[in-house]
Amino acid sequence: MSSHAGFHVTKPGFFTLLQDAGRRGVMHMGLTSGGAMDRHAWAWANRLLGNRYGTPALEITFGGAAFTSGLNTQIVVTGAEVQLTVNGKPKPLWTTIRVNAGDSVSLSAPRAGVRSYFAVRGGFIVNTDLGNSCATVVREGTGGLHSNGQPLGQGDLIPCSDATPPAANRKIPSQWIPDYHEPLTLNVISCAQVDRFSEAVFETFFDNIYTLSPQADRMGARLTGPALEVADRTLISEGTSLGAIQVPADGQPIILLNDRQTIGGYPKLGAVTPRSLDALAQRPPGTQLRFREIPLPEAQQEERQFLAFFRTAGSV
């Protein structure tokens, strides 16, 4: 019987959300995109299980979560370096793990990284009416398990199917697992409104270290560092792009992320590439960041490779 099969949340952790590849075609209604913040870890979790790109998984921020399985299935946990246990026994990350009905799965707080992705064979079964996505957006009160934008809470049952045939046992080669302690330089492409900033401002931005502020969430990553002066501050609100680097009046840049507002009126210095945002999603507040400009074709090539690898592969 699969109707009540799923994972019970016994400890929700600090902030646990159902996420997938994010919404499409709904920004004109003021609905944000949402989606997994670190697509790399999220996509690997699904791929190892033979799930297609876009399958909902749990995004567990700062670990500390526990679940009880209601079925016999396989799971993968990727992303932040947590201690993963099944019934108290340590299990590897980035590897398929068999679990049986009644088993308890726990994630500790991370030693490195910020976000863990917990995927199950066949994926979690959840409403995807908005923009063909389950994305949980707390600020909007949309999406997620109860279609109300709420993070997962104790006692929630996240349904999944026990009908999907088992996947082969897999893990990814260790050299493909990112080191989230590594110093990070974010790639930036040049965008509209570069003429709002002087040459000296770009030198300041690209030659200095900026620190990820504690006021960083799924909407935006606030940075602190040498102030950036905007020559012409008046901008009529326009549609926002993922990764856009906004510069408000105080000169401290903000990188717009998955849950950003759909329109905004601050001049933008450039845009951080999606692959760099994946890496940023695993850095805690206080992390020192550098920026480097790369040409648009190079950035697009890198992103196309990522999408081609994960999106066109289907089941492996």
Partner: protein, 230 residues
């Protein structure tokens, strides 16, 4: 139709149709948006109209910047510079209970503009508004323009909680809060109808380029239509 294009992200480009807020521009962007949507359809992952611009998001795996731009150009070049007048049949009617009990800034606006509350209501509801943009929150429509005498700056201190359905004024724009949220607009009334409902086939009642008129209703009608007064 005249426009300029700029790269705004790895998979987005933004078309600019002018550089100041103008109802004629809103109409032009609506026409451009409809034409692009019907010609390019699924190639556009997202299409976000705003006051002077239109953001297009495409799928990097199936498309590229230059071929998309060429097709955008051929679509827009076929459109006239001045869009035909929108037909009145497209006007969305929104019932509003204008009253200090649900519009705590109504009396202050009246005092500020040396009008009676009744005159403020008449002037606000006689105006035909255009949707400049949707943003801030799902279904939140920036409407303009409010008659000059009702122009009111945002509150110095935003309210921590504005109830859903509240109608407000900020400068020469007016808007309804689709859901309860913090907000700094001057509140003058409340609508009983839902501006955003994720369960509807079209979750947002309004979209950019549409026209809106507010209709003053009584407290009884407001309550009969499901309106809430705390």
């Amino acid at each position: 139709m005249r426009w300029q294009c700029q790269v705004t992200g790895i998979d987005t480009l933004t078309l600019y149709f002018g550089d100041r807020i103008d109802i004629a521009l809103t109409e032009k962007i609506r026409v451009a948006s409809e034409a692009l949507s019907s010609k390019l359809g699924p190639r556009l992952v997202d299409l976000v109209p705003s006051y002077t611009s239109l953001l297009l998001r495409y799928d990097l795996l199936n498309d590229d910047y230059s071929s998309l731009l060429a097709d955008v150009k051929s679509t827009l070049d076929d459109l006239p510079e001045h869009a035909a007048e929108q037909k009145d049949t497209g006007i969305i009617d929104i019932p509003v209970f204008y009253h200090p009990s649900v519009g705590p800034d109504l009396e202050a606006i009246a005092a500020r503009s040396a009008l009676s509350v009744k005159q403020v209501i008449q002037r606000h509801s006689n105006q035909l508004y255009h949707v400049f943009a949707i943003g801030f929150a799902p279904g939140f429509a920036y409407l303009g323009e409010v008659p000059q005498e009702l122009e009111t700056p945002r509150l110095a201190t935003p309210r921590a909680n504005v109830p859903a359905g509240s109608l407000g004024i900020a400068d020469r724009q007016t808007a309804i809060y689709p859901m309860a949220s913090p907000g700094g607009w001057n509140l003058i009334g409340r609508t009983p109808i839902s501006l955003f409902d994720a369960r509807r086939e079209q979750p947002s009642l309004l979209s950019a380029g549409q026209q809106v008129r507010f209709r003053a209703i009584s407290r009884d009608e407001f309550l009969a239509l499901g309106g809430q007064i705390e």
